[in-house]
C-alpha cells in the first residue's frame, strides 16, 4: 500500500514538473509577449529595453530563467509579477484562496443537497412522469453555458428587476467572512446558485441510477422483507450505500473547482478568486502569476486524482498491481 502511494506521489510530482515546463515553453514561444517591452513602457529607448531585459534576466538562457523562477517561487518564495511590478505572487494566490473556497463550499453544499432531493425523489417516483422530468431538469442545468447563465442572472438581479424584486441583491463582488456571515452569504448567493445548477443535475442522475441498482441488492430486499417501510429503506439503506459512488465524483470535481475551474463563474460575478486571478494573469500574459496559478490548480487536480486512486486501491487491492 505504502509503496503504491509512494509511486503515485512520485508520478504526481512528475506531472506537476511537466506542466510547469510546458507552460514556460509555450509562453516563451509566443511572439509579442516578451515582457521586456511592456515592462519598459511606451516608446522606451532601446537602451532602457536592454537594461530591463538584463535586470529581469530575460537575456539568460531559457533553462536558467526557468530555474530562477522556480527558485523564487518555491525556495525564496518572493517571486514577483511581470506586470504589477513589485507585487509578490504568493500573497496574491493566498488572498484569492478564501474567495474560491467560499464560492466552492457554498455551491457544493447546495448542489449536493439538491442532488440528494432530486435523486431520492426520482427514485421514489420511478415509473411516473416525475422521474424523467427531474432528470430532464438536471440535463438542462448541465447544458447551460455557465457564463451566459451568470450574465443573465446579473441582468435580472442587477438591472432589470433590481428596482423591484431584487432590490435586496448587493452589488457584485466579494465580502470577507469577517465582515459578517450575512453580507458574505448574500454576496455569494447567486454565484453559488449558478455554479450549483451546473452540478446538481449530474449528481442527481448518478445517485438515481445507483439507487435504482441497489434496490435489487440483497441487503435492500432483506430490509424490505423485515417489513421496514419503503421510505426508510430508500433513505437508510439504498441512499447510504449509493452515496459512496458520489464521493469519488465529488472528490474530482471539488479538487478541480478549488484549483480554479470555477474561472468563468468568478469572472462573471467579479469574485477575486483563484480562477479570476488565473484569468487576469492570462489576459496580462503575466508569466509568474500564470505559473503560480497553474501549479496551484494542477496540484489540486493531481491531489484529487491521487486521493481517489488511493481510495480505490484501498477498497480494491487488485488495482495496486496494475
Amino acid at each position: 500500500m505504502w509503496r503504491f502511494a509512494g509511486k503515485r506521489a512520485l508520478a504526481a510530482l512528475l506531472v506537476l514538473f511537466a506542466i510547469s515546463v510546458l507552460v514556460f515553453l509555450i509562453f516563451f514561444a509566443t511572439p509579442g509577449i516578451d515582457p521586456a517591452a511592456r515592462i519598459a513602457g511606451r516608446n522606451a529607448s532601446q537602451e532602457t529595453l536592454t537594461q530591463v531585459r538584463a535586470s529581469f534576466g530575460f537575456d539568460r538562457p531559457i533553462w536558467v530563467q526557468y530555474g530562477l523562477m522556480m527558485q523564487h517561487l518555491f525556495i525564496n518564495r518572493d517571486l514577483t509579477s511581470f506586470v504589477n511590478r513589485g507585487s509578490q505572487v504568493i500573497p496574491q494566490v493566498m488572498q484569492a484562496i478564501p474567495v474560491t473556497l467560499s464560492l466552492v463550499f457554498g455551491a457544493a453544499l447546495i448542489w449536493v443537497v439538491l442532488a440528494l432531493i432530486m435523486g431520492v425523489a426520482a427514485t421514489a417516483a420511478r415509473g411516473t412522469v416525475i422521474d424523467p422530468l427531474i432528470l430532464v431538469i438536471g440535463v438542462i442545468g448541465v447544458s447551460l453555458p455557465v457564463f451566459w447563465l451568470g450574465e443573465v442572472v446579473n441582468l435580472v438581479t442587477q438591472s432589470r428587476l433590481h428596482d423591484t424584486v431584487f432590490a435586496w441583491v448587493p452589488q457584485l463582488g466579494y465580502v470577507p467572512l469577517t465582515d459578517g456571515v450575512g453580507p458574505w452569504a448574500l454576496h455569494l448567493l447567486f454565484p453559488w446558485l449558478t455554479l450549483a445548477v451546473l452540478y446538481a443535475g449530474i449528481y442527481a442522475r448518478v445517485l438515481r441510477s445507483e439507487m435504482v441498482a441497489s434496490m435489487n441488492e440483497d441487503y435492500v430486499r432483506m430490509a424490505r422483507a423485515k417489513g421496514i417501510g419503503e421510505t426508510r429503506v430508500l433513505i437508510r439503506h439504498s441512499l447510504r450505500t449509493s452515496m459512496i459512488s458520489i464521493v469519488s465524483l465529488f472528490g474530482l470535481d471539488f479538487g478541480a473547482l478549488i484549483g480554479g475551474a470555477a474561472l468563468l463563474t468568478e469572472v462573471v460575478f467579479g469574485l477575486q478568486g483563484v480562477g479570476k486571478l488565473t484569468y487576469d494573469s492570462l489576459q496580462n500574459f503575466d508569466l509568474p502569476v500564470i505559473l503560480a496559478c497553474v501549479l496551484y490548480a494542477s496540484f489540486f487536480v493531481v491531489l484529487a486524482n491521487f486521493i481517489v486512486d488511493l481510495l480505490y486501491a484501498w477498497l480494491d487491492p487488485r488495482v495496486r498491481h496494475v
Binding site: P31, D34, A37, R38, R42, G86, Q88, N154, Q158
Partner: protein, 587 residues
C-alpha cells in the same frame, strides 16, 4: 487610458522628447474642448520663470473638507513606485502625493499645461548657454515619514531614475551630464557633475550636455519626483514611498484596494503646484466589472470610475445622469498604421485607397457617436499646434473630412495591381477595438482585398504590432498625448528614429522613413528653438507631405467621459493629468 491596461497601453502621458516649449513666447495652445478660449498662460519659456497668472486656481473652501472619496477601477496599474509606473491611472494620483522640483499647474482647463515651481522656490534662469539650472529648494518641507527634505534627497532621486531603470530614463533624462554612464551601469550611477547638491546653500545644480528647452516639462512628471534618499534603489513595488504632497499612500494591494490618507506633515506652500485636498481619505477599489462600476456610481455607492463606461450604458448615463457626466476633448487620435514595407501597402496607391475608403463617421458611431469623437483627416488633431485644416481624402472635397469615396478606392486598388491580395487587420480584443477592426475588414473586402481580422489580447497587441518581425500589414491603434508639440505626433510616430526593425519598442508601426520628410522635420525641430509659430507652419507642411504618402489612416480624435456620483462636487479637469482627484468634494 484604454481600459485597465498596464504599463505600455494606458500610458497616455508624455512620450519621448519634444515637449516643445516655445521660447518665442507664443502659446502652443492645445485644442480646447469645445473651443474653450486658449488661455495664453505662458507655457514655459525655457529658463525664465513665468508662472502666469493664477486666476484659474480655485481658493480652498474648508466647508467641503473631510469625508471618504471612493474611486473604482477594473484593475490596478501595477507598481506604486512613481519612478517606474508609467500609467495614466496612477499618474493621476501622483498629482496629490509626489512633487518634483517643478510641477504642472493643478487647475482646470488650459492652464494645466503650465509649469510652476513646486519643491523649488522658483524656476531659475538657465546659465552656461542653456545647459545649467540652479534650483533653490523651499525650506521646511517634510516627507510624510517626518524626514526633512534636503538636497541629498534630490540628488539621490535623480540617480534613482537610472537605478530603477525608469521607462523614460533613456529618453527624457539622457541629456543630464553623466547619464550615459548611468544607463550603461545603473548600480554605480552617481550623475557626477550632472546633479550637484549644495546642502548649506540649499541649492541643486543640474548640468545638461546640450540645451533642452523641454527640460522643465520633464522635471514635472512623476519620474522626476523627489523621493527620500532612503528609498530603495530598486522598484519599490507595492510598498509606498514616503510623499511630500497633500496625501500619502497608506496601503496598496493591486487585487483589492489602494488607500490614500492625508500627509500629516503637509503644509500648503503653493496652491498652484500642490494644493491641499478635500477628502480625508481616498479609497481606490479594484476588481469590479465596468458594468458594476457604472451601477455603483449611479447608486451613489462610489464617487467615480476610472474605466470608460461600456457602450450599452452610454445612452443611459448621458440622459438620466447627464448632470454628473463630464466630457473632455483629448489631444489624441485613433489611427490605422499601414505597413509601408509589406504588400499590399508597400504600394502608394493601395495605401491611398484605404484612406479614401474608410468612413470616419462609421467608426465614430462604433465609438459611441458624434458627441464622443470627431472624424479627422490629418495626423495632428484639430486645434493642435501645427494643425492646418487639410484633407486629401474626402468626397465631396473640402478642408475637413466629409465622406468616403469607395469608387475611387476601388479604382486605386485596381490600378495598384494589388486587388485580391490577403490582408489581416490586427486589433485589440476589447469591444470597441474589435468592432472597428471588423468594420475595417469589411471595407477592405469591399475595395477588393481578401481581408481577415484578428483580435488579440489588448495587453500584447500594442507591442505585437510594433515588431516588424510579426509582419503586421494594418492594425488599429491609438496615440494619446498630453502636451502641445507637433513633433510628438509626427516625429515620434513616423520619424526614422522611431523605427527599429525587430524590436517590440518601435513606435513607428508603419515602418515609414522618408529621407526628405525627415529632413523637413529636423528643420522644423531646429526652428522651434527660435520661433514656435514658424516651426508650426513647417509642421503643417510635414503633416501634408506625410498624408500624401499615406503611411497611416487617421480616423478620429476621442473624448474622455468622467462619470461622477451625484454627491460629488468641484470637478476639475487637468489636460495634463486629467481629473484632479483630491480636489473633489464629497461633503
Amino acid at each position: 487610458m484604454r481600459l485597465h491596461r498596464i504599463a505600455t497601453v494606458g500610458v497616455s502621458l508624455l512620450a519621448v522628447g519634444a515637449l516643445a516649449a516655445c521660447s518665442s513666447g507664443s502659446s502652443p495652445s492645445p485644442s480646447g474642448s469645445s473651443g474653450a478660449a486658449a488661455s495664453s498662460a505662458s507655457a514655459v519659456p525655457s529658463g525664465s520663470a513665468s508662472v502666469g497668472n493664477d486666476s484659474d486656481v480655485r481658493p480652498y473652501d474648508p466647508a467641503h473638507a473631510g469625508g471618504t472619496l471612493t474611486l473604482l477601477a477594473k484593475g490596478a496599474a501595477g507598481t506604486l513606485d512613481p519612478k517606474v509606473n508609467y500609467t495614466l491611472q496612477f499618474w493621476q494620483l501622483y498629482q496629490g502625493t509626489y512633487d518634483g522640483l517643478t510641477a504642472f499647474k493643478h487647475v482646470d482647463g488650459e492652464g494645466s499645461f503650465t509649469v510652476v515651481p513646486d519643491l523649488a522656490e522658483s524656476i531659475p534662469d538657465t546659465t552656461n548657454g542653456g545647459k545649467t539650472y540652479v534650483f533653490k529648494l523651499r525650506q521646511g518641507i517634510k516627507f510624510s515619514d517626518g524626514a526633512d527634505l534636503t538636497t541629498d534627497d534630490v540628488v539621490s532621486s535623480f540617480q534613482r531614475i537610472f537605478k530603477v531603470s525608469s521607462p523614460t530614463a533613456g529618453s527624457f533624462y539622457n541629456g543630464i551630464v553623466g547619464a550615459d554612464a548611468c544607463i550603461k551601469a545603473p548600480e554605480t550611477c552617481t550623475l557626477e557633475g550632472g546633479v550637484v547638491g549644495d546642502k548649506t546653500a540649499g541649492t541643486v545644480t543640474i548640468n545638461l550636455t546640450a540645451p533642452d528647452p523641454e527640460f522643465l516639462y520633464k522635471l514635472s512628471v512623476p519620474h522626476a519626483a523627489i523621493n527620500p534618499k532612503s528609498a530603495p534603489t530598486k522598484d519599490a513595488g507595492n510598498t509606498p514611498i514616503p510623499t511630500t504632497g497633500a496625501y500619502m499612500f497608506k496601503s496598496y494591494d493591486p487585487n483589492t484596494a489602494l488607500v490614500m490618507v492625508r500627509n500629516p506633515n503637509f503644509k500648503e506652500w503653493s496652491r498652484a503646484a500642490q494644493p491641499a485636498g478635500y477628502p480625508d481619505e481616498i479609497d481606490y477599489k479594484f476588481g469590479l466589472t465596468v458594468e458594476a462600476e457604472v451601477t455603483a456610481v449611479e447608486n451613489n455607492q462610489a464617487n467615480w470610475l476610472y474605466d470608460p463606461p461600456p457602450a450599452d450604458r452610454l445612452a443611459e448615463i448621458g440622459s438620466k445622469y447627464a448632470s454628473q457626466v463630464h466630457v473632455n476633448q483629448l489631444t489624441a487620435f485613433w489611427y490605422l498604421p499601414l505597413n509601408v514595407n509589406l504588400a499590399p501597402f508597400d504600394n502608394l496607391k493601395a495605401r491611398q485607397a484605404v484612406n479614401w475608403a474608410i468612413d470616419r463617421n462609421a467608426i465614430v458611431k462604433l465609438y459611441g457617436g458624434a458627441n464622443l469623437a470627431q472624424p479627422v483627416c490629418t495626423i495632428l488633431p484639430p486645434g493642435f499646434p501645427g494643425y492646418e485644416a487639410n484633407c486629401q481624402y474626402t468626397n465631396p472635397a473640402g478642408d475637413t473630412w466629409q465622406g468616403a469615396d469607395l469608387e475611387k478606392a476601388k479604382q486605386l486598388v485596381t490600378e495598384s495591381g494589388t486587388a485580391g491580395q490577403e490582408v489581416t487587420v490586427i486589433v485589440a480584443d476589447d469591444e470597441v477595438n474589435k468592432a472597428v477592426g471588423e468594420y475595417v475588414q469589411s471595407v477592405l473586402n469591399q475595395i477588393g482585398y481578401k481581408a481577415k481580422v484578428k483580435a488579440i489580447s489588448g495587453n500584447i497587441q500594442f507591442t505585437y504590432i510594433q515588431n516588424s518581425n510579426n509582419k503586421v500589414q494594418i492594425s488599429v491603434t491609438q496615440w494619446y498625448q498630453d502636451y502641445p508639440a507637433a513633433s510628438d505626433f509626427l516625429n515620434v510616430l513616423l520619424g526614422c528614429a522611431s523605427f527599429t526593425p525587430g524590436s517590440d519598442s518601435s513606435i513607428n508601426m508603419s515602418g515609414f522613413c522618408d529621407k526628405k520628410i525627415q529632413a523637413q522635420m529636423d528643420d522644423a525641430l531646429k526652428t522651434e528653438q527660435t520661433s514656435f509659430d514658424e516651426a508650426n507652419k513647417k509642421w503643417a507642411a510635414v503633416d501634408k507631405a506625410m498624408m500624401e504618402q499615406s503611411p497611416m489612416v487617421p480616423v478620429m480624435t476621442p473624448k474622455l467621459i468622467d462619470f461622477i456620483s451625484k454627491d460629488t462636487g468641484n470637478y476639475q479637469f487637468s489636460k495634463q493629468f486629467y481629473m484632479l482627484v483630491d480636489q473633489l468634494w464629497v461633503k
